[in-house]
C-alpha cells in the first residue's frame, strides 16, 4: 500500500507537516502521527455532507446543474452587483485567495477573511503596538517559559505543546515531558496519601468546590526544565499540565495584564486580589516571567473576543514588549483555521491590508468598523455575496447573517454547511491539502506546501480553478456590456 509521507495537515494553525497517510484504491485508510482532529479530517472528509454536484436555487429549492451553468450564474450575480462581499478564504490555499482578490478588485467589492471574527482585534493591536515574535522552532530550541493565555492548546491545537513548546526537544532546552510525568506521579501519590489520611483520621462530609472568589493556587510541585503557565477562566486540560495556573475572572484579563505590567516594573500593587487572583501568587508568576531566559506567550480567542477585545491585546503586546527590557520574550496569536495566517499575508502583499478590504472605489481601502464584511452586512449595504470555504451563517451575528442570506448568495465549499443550504448558487470544491495542492502559512508565518494526496470526485475542481472560471466569465460579461 502506498504511504505518502510529510503530508501537511489542513486543520489548525499548527500546520503539522509530518503526517503519513496510507492510500488504498484512491482512499485514505490510515493516518500516522496526526492528532484526533487530523485523523477525523483525513479519514472522514468524504462523508455524507459532501456535495458532489453544482446546484442552483430554482423555485425555492436547490436543483442540480452543470458546472458551466453554475459558473455563468455566479458570474452574472457578481457582475450585476454594485457592492458584493467576498468572504471566507481561511480554509483554502494562498493561490485561491490570490484569485479571490483579483475577483474582488474586478467587481469592486469588499473582500474579507475570517480574521474579522477571530484575531481581527489582534491585528488592530499589532498595528498599534507592533509585535515581538519568532518562528515556532525558535521556541522549541530556546524557550524555558511558555505561557498560554485564553487558549487551550491541549484541545484546540493538540500537537502544539508536543511539537513546538513545552514537550518539544530543542537545542538549548530539553523536553519537559519526562518531568511532567514525574510530577503527575508525585501528585497522584500525594492525593492517595491525603485521602488515606483522611479516611483514617478525619470524618467529614465531602468538600464543596470553592467559589472562584476563594481562589486557591494550583498545587505546585517544582520540576526541572521548561515552565508552563496557563491563564484562563476555567481549568482546562492544558491547565492540568501547567506549573502555574492563574484562574482569571471572566472579562478581567485586561486588569490582570496591566497588573503584570506593573509587577514586572517592580511596582507595588496596593490591593489583595486582581481579577480574583491573590497578588502574592501574581508576584510569584511575574517573577518567573522576568527570570526566564526566553519566554513565549501564546494567546487565543479567550483574549481577543472577551471584554476589551483589542485593548486586551494592546496590553498583552505591551507586556511582552516591556519584558524585553528584562529578558527575551516573544508573543504569538494561536491562529485557528489552517490558512487564516495565509489569508492575512496574501491580502497584505496584494492590497497592503490584512483583512476588511474595500475595492468599491477602485483601490484598496481599509477601515475595520466600516469596511469589514460584518459592518457592511449590518448596514445592509451589500447586494450580492460569495462565500468561499467558510460558514458565516452559523458564526456571524444574527443580524448580519440575516442580511447575508437576503443577498443573492454564491457558496464554494465541499460541504453542505448551513451557509451552503441558503445558497442561490452552490459550487462544490475539492479539499485543499487532500484533493488539491497549494500553499498555507503556519501561525508563525512559515509557508508550508499542501499536498494533493488523492483525486477529487469526478467533476469537482479546486477553489482556485473555480474562481478563475468565474473571474473569466465576469470579465467576459463586463466586456460585452461595455461593447453594448
Amino acid at each position: 500500500m502506498p504511504v505518502v509521507k510529510a503530508v501537511t495537515c489542513p486543520v489548525c494553525g499548527s500546520l503539522c507537516d509530518d503526517i503519513e497517510l496510507t492510500v488504498e484504491n484512491g482512499r485514505i485508510v490510515k493516518v500516522k502521527n496526526g492528532c484526533a482532529m487530523c485523523e477525523a479530517k483525513f479519514l472522514g472528509y468524504c462523508g455524507e455532507h459532501r456535495v458532489l454536484k453544482p446546484m442552483i436555487r430554482k423555485n425555492g429549492g436547490l436543483v442540480k446543474t452543470t458546472l458551466k451553468e453554475a459558473v455563468r450564474r455566479a458570474a452574472e450575480i457578481l457582475a450585476e452587483a454594485n457592492y458584493p462581499v467576498l468572504y471566507g478564504w481561511s480554509s483554502t490555499s494562498c493561490e485561491a485567495i490570490s484569485v479571490g482578490i483579483e475577483l474582488a478588485e474586478e467587481v469592486g467589492g469588499v473582500i474579507d477573511n475570517t480574521s474579522v471574527v477571530c484575531h481581527g482585534p489582534s491585528i488592530l493591536s499589532i498595528q498599534n503596538v507592533g509585535i515581538p515574535s519568532c518562528t515556532l522552532g525558535q521556541i522549541r530550541h530556546r524557550a524555558d517559559l511558555i505561557v498560554y493565555w485564553g487558549s487551550n492548546p491541549w484541545s484546540a491545537h493538540p500537537r502544539h505543546i508536543e511539537r513546538y513548546t513545552a514537550f518539544a526537544e530543542g537545542r538549548f532546552e530539553k523536553s519537559a515531558w519526562r518531568s511532567y510525568v514525574n510530577k503527575v506521579k508525585a501528585l497522584v501519590g500525594r492525593k492517595k496519601l491525603q485521602s488515606a489520611i483522611k479516611r483514617l483520621f478525619v470524618k467529614k462530609p465531602a468538600p464543596v468546590p470553592p467559589p472562584i472568589s476563594e481562589y486557591k493556587p494550583y498545587p505546585f510541585i517544582t520540576k526541572e526544565g521548561r515552565k508552563l503557565i496557563v491563564i484562563d477562566v476555567r481549568r482546562t486540560k492544558s491547565a492540568e499540565i501547567a506549573d502555574y495556573f492563574v484562574q482569571v475572572e471572566p472579562n478581567k484579563d485586561y486588569e490582570l495584564l496591566q497588573a503584570f505590567r506593573m509587577l514586572i516594573r517592580d511596582q507595588e500593587l496596593e490591593v489583595d486580589r486582581v481579577a480574583g487572583v491573590p497578588v502574592e501568587y501574581l508576584e510569584e508568576v511575574a517573577d518567573v516571567m522576568v527570570s526566564c531566559d526566553f519566554g513565549a506567550l501564546f494567546f487565543g480567542l479567550g483574549l481577543t473576543m472577551s471584554s476589551g477585545k483589542l485593548r486586551n491585546i494592546d496590553a498583552a503586546l505591551s507586556l511582552v514588549r516591556d519584558l524585553n527590557m528584562r529578558t527575551k520574550f516573544i508573543i504569538m496569536p494561536m491562529r485557528g483555521h489552517f490558512n487564516v495566517t495565509g489569508a492575512n499575508i496574501v491580502f497584505t502583499w496584494q492590497t497592503g491590508y490584512p483583512y476588511a478590504v474595500d475595492f468599491s472605489l477602485g483601490y484598496p481601502r481599509y477601515n475595520p468598523g466600516e469596511t469589514s464584511v460584518v459592518d457592511v452586512l449590518l448596514r445592509k449595504e451589500s447586494d450580492a455575496a460569495i462565500i468561499v470555504a467558510s460558514d458565516p451563517v452559523s458564526s456571524f451575528p444574527r443580524k448580519a447573517a440575516e442580511h447575508l442570506v437576503k443577498n443573492p448568495l454564491i457558496v464554494i465549499d465541499p460541504h453542505m454547511n448551513v451557509t451552503a443550504q441558503m445558497a442561490d448558487v452552490l459550487i462544490p470544491s475539492a479539499f485543499v491539502g487532500i484533493e488539491a495542492s497549494g500553499t498555507a502559512y503556519r501561525m508563525d508565518h512559515v509557508p508550508i506546501p499542501l499536498k494533493k494526496v488523492v483525486n477529487p470526485p469526478k467533476g469537482i475542481h479546486p477553489d482556485e480553478e473555480i474562481l478563475r472560471r468565474i473571474l473569466k466569465e465576469v470579465r467576459r460579461i463586463k466586456k460585452k456590456e461595455e461593447a453594448a
Binding site: 526566553f294 492575512n344 492590497t351
Partner: protein, 563 residues
C-alpha cells in the same frame, strides 16, 4: 517583435559608450546589431538619454519581513494609493508598496532589475510568492546564511568544503542568488536577546567569531564561483563609532582577494560610517571609509542614502531594530527565524532638523562623492530603510548638481550643515557616471552578464529619459533631471515597451533569477543530515525547498563550483 530606438544619446559604460548618438536595435527581447527598419516599431529618442534599464542591488521589496511591515503600517498606505486601470492592478504605497505597485513604480522610473537582499531560507517560499506577484521587473533574492547553524558549525570545525556544499544546496533549495550576511553572529546571539560587540567577539554557545564567519563565507563564495561577492551588512550597524567595524570587516578579507577583483560587498554603507562615541559626539566617518576604499580594490559598496521622509526601517538585524525601537519609541516588530536569522521592523521619520538624521543624509552623499571610482559605490536607499526607492531621482540630482545639494543643505540642521563635508566637495557626477552607479556598476558587482549594458546579445532592458544632455547642463537644471528620472519617457523590458511617459502600458511578468550551483559532489542528504534537519527545523525536509512552481518565470544560471 522588432524595435528600433533612433537617435538617442546613448550611455553604456560597460561598452565604453559615452553620450554617442546612435540607434539601438531590439529583436526577441535581446539587443541585436540591426533589424529590418521598415518592419520594426520605431522610437524617436532624439534629444533624449538612452541607458540600460536601472538595476537595484539592494531593495527590500518582498518576503515575510516586508509584508509584516505592510501589515504594521496602514497609515503608510492611506495617503498613497493607485487605482486599478484597464491594464494595471490597484495597490498602495508609500514606503512599503504592495507588490504590483512596487513593480510599476520601478518600471516608471526606468528600473528593470531589482534584488531583494534578505530572504530567511525557511520562509523563502513567501519571498518568491511575492516576487512572482511583482510585475515587469526581473528580480532575485539573497538567502540569509551568516547565522545559519550549519554554517556556524562547519566553519567552527574548519570544514570549509563541507560548508560550501551545504551553502550550494541551500542556494538551490531557496532559489537564491548570493550569500547574505547580516550582523554575522549577532543574530544568533539575539536568539537570547544578546548581540556581539565587534568582529572578534565570540558568538555565545558556538565558539566562533564574526571574523571567522565573514572569512569563511568569503572563501565559500570563492569556492562556489558565485557571480556576486558576499553581501555584508556589518556588525554594529547604526551605532556611533561603527566605521571602525566597517573598516575591520573590509580588512579581514583583504588577503582573500586575487587579481584586484572584489570579494566583499558592504551594503548600505552609510549606516556603517558613523564616527563618535555616542549620539552627542556623532559625526561622519565617510572620509575614513572613502580613503580605505580608494586605496583598495577588493570592495564594492552601496550608499544606503537617507531621504528626509517618513519611512519604515526593516532589516534582519534584530538587535539593531530593538535599539532603534528604544531610541524612537515607535512600534516594533521582531521576528526571529529558527536556526537561521532574525528580523525587525520600526517605522522611522528622518527629519531635516535632527542633527543625527541630517548628518546621515550627508554621509551617504559624501561616500558617493569621495569614493573616486564610481564602479565601487552604487546608488541605493536600502529601500525602505533610508527612504523609499521612488526617491532615486532626487539622489541622482544631488549627485549631479552641487546646486541641488546646496539647496537641501540650506534646509538641514545647522550643526549638521557646519560639520558636513559636502560644501567642500565640488565633484558632480556626469550622466556616464550616473549610468555606472545605477546600472553598469550594479550589473558588474552582481555578475549579471546580460544586464546593465546595451551591447549585442544583452537583454533588451532599456530606459529612455527626456533630458537633452547635449544642450542642457544637469548641474544647473537639476530639477529637470529629477523630473526626467521620475517618469521615464520609455521603459523597455525584454524588448517590450512597458512604460511610456511615466504611464504603465502593460502588465507583464518579470523573471526570477537564481543560481543552480553544481558541486562535483552534492551535499550528502544522508539519514544523518535528515536527522539533523529534524533536530534543527520544525518543518519536514521535503517540505523545505522551494520548487520552481513558485517562480512566475524561472531563470536559473548554472554555476560550476570548485568543490
Amino acid at each position: 517583435m522588432e524595435l528600433l530606438i533612433k537617435n538617442g544619446l546613448v550611455y553604456d559604460p560597460i561598452n565604453g559608450v559615452n553620450e554617442e548618438k546612435m540607434d539601438i536595435a531590439v529583436k526577441d527581447g535581446k539587443i541585436v546589431e540591426k533589424v529590418n527598419e521598415r518592419r520594426a516599431k520605431k522610437i524617436d529618442a532624439s534629444g533624449m538619454i538612452v541607458m540600460p534599464g536601472g538595476i537595484d542591488i539592494h531593495s527590500h521589496i518582498a518576503g515575510g519581513k516586508v509584508n509584516s511591515g505592510r501589515l504594521l503600517r496602514p497609515e503608510d498606505h492611506f495617503k498613497d494609493f493607485e487605482r486599478k486601470t484597464a491594464v494595471t492592478r490597484s495597490g498602495v504605497g508609500y514606503s512599503i508598496p504592495s507588490t504590483f505597485t512596487t513593480g510599476y513604480r520601478y518600471a516608471r522610473m526606468g528600473w528593470t532589475t531589482v534584488m531583494d537582499p534578505a530572504m530567511p531560507p525557511l520562509e523563502a517560499k513567501h519571498t518568491h510568492e511575492e516576487l512572482s506577484d511583482t510585475p515587469i521587473i526581473d528580480k532575485a533574492s539573497y538567502p540569509l546564511l551568516g547565522d545559519w547553524w550549519f554554517v556556524l558549525e562547519y566553519l567552527r570545525d574548519g570544514k570549509i568544503e563541507e560548508c560550501a556544499r551545504h551553502v550550494a544546496w541551500m542556494i538551490k533549495a531557496t532559489k537564491g542568488y548570493a550569500i547574505k550576511l547580516v550582523n554575522p553572529g549577532g543574530l544568533e546571539a539575539w536568539g537570547f536577546g544578546r548581540n556581539v560587540k565587534n568582529i572578534d567577539d565570540p558568538v555565545p554557545y558556538f565558539g566562533i567569531t564574526p571574523r571567522e564567519i565573514i572569512r569563511g563565507l568569503c572563501r565559500v563564495n570563492k569556492l562556489l564561483n558565485l557571480p556576486h561577492t558576499i553581501h555584508v551588512h556589518t556588525n554594529n550597524l547604526g551605532k556611533p563609532g561603527n566605521y571602525v567595524t566597517a573598516l575591520e570587516t573590509m580588512k579581514c578579507v583583504e588577503d582573500l582577494a586575487e587579481d584586484g577583483k572584489p570579494v566583499i560587498h558592504i551594503t548600505h554603507c552609510q549606516f556603517s560610517a558613523f564616527k563618535g562615541d555616542d549620539w552627542r559626539t556623532f559625526e561622519s566617518g565617510a572620509e575614513e571609509i572613502a580613503n580605505y576604499v580608494n586605496a583598495h580594490s577588493h570592495v564594492t559598496m552601496d550608499m544606503g542614502q537617507v531621504i528626509f521622509t517618513d519611512t519604515t526601517t526593516m532589516t534582519a538585524d534584530g538587535p539593531f531594530q530593538y535599539i532603534l525601537y528604544t531610541l524612537s519609541g515607535n512600534k516594533w516588530v521582531n521576528h526571529d527565524v529558527e536556526t537561521e536569522t532574525s528580523a525587525g521592523i520600526v517605522p522611522f521619520h528622518y527629519r531635516r532638523r535632527s542633527y543625527v538624521h541630517a548628518t546621515q543624509w550627508s554621509i551617504g552623499l559624501e561616500l558617493a562623492l569621495l569614493i573616486k571610482d564610481p564602479w565601487k559605490i552604487l546608488m541605493t536607499t536600502d529601500h525602505p530603510n533610508g527612504g523609499p526607492f521612488i526617491a532615486y531621482p532626487r539622489i541622482v540630482a544631488w549627485l549631479m548638481s552641487r546646486k541641488a545639494r546646496e539647496a537641501t543643505l540650506k534646509k538641514i540642521n545647522s550643526k549638521a550643515r557646519s560639520r558636513s563635508l559636502l560644501p567642500t566637495i565640488d565633484r558632480e557626477l556626469s550622466f556616464y557616471e550616473i549610468a555606472i552607479v545605477t546600472r553598469a556598476g550594479q550589473a558588474k558587482a552582481l555578475g549579471l552578464k546580460n544586464k546593465g549594458h546595451l551591447g549585442i546579445g544583452a537583454d533588451a532592458d532599456i530606459a529612455i529619459y527626456k533630458f537633452n544632455s547635449e544642450t542642457m547642463d544637469p548641474s544647473k537644471k537639476y530639477k529637470a533631471v529629477r523630473r526626467a528620472f521620475k517618469r521615464a519617457a520609455y521603459t523597455i523590458k525584454s524588448g517590450q515597451v512597458v512604460v511610456k511617459d511615466g504611464e504603465v502600458l502593460k502588465h507583464v511578468d518579470g523573471a526570477t533569477m537564481w543560481l543552480d550551483v553544481k558541486t562535483s559532489e552534492e551535499a550528502k542528504i544522508t539519514e544523518e543530515m535528515k536527522r539533523r534537519f529534524k533536530d534543527y527545523w520544525t518543518v519536514e525536509f521535503e517540505n523545505y525547498p522551494v520548487s520552481e512552481d513558485y517562480l512566475a518565470i524561472s531563470q536559473p544560471t548554472t554555476v560550476k563550483a570548485d568543490v
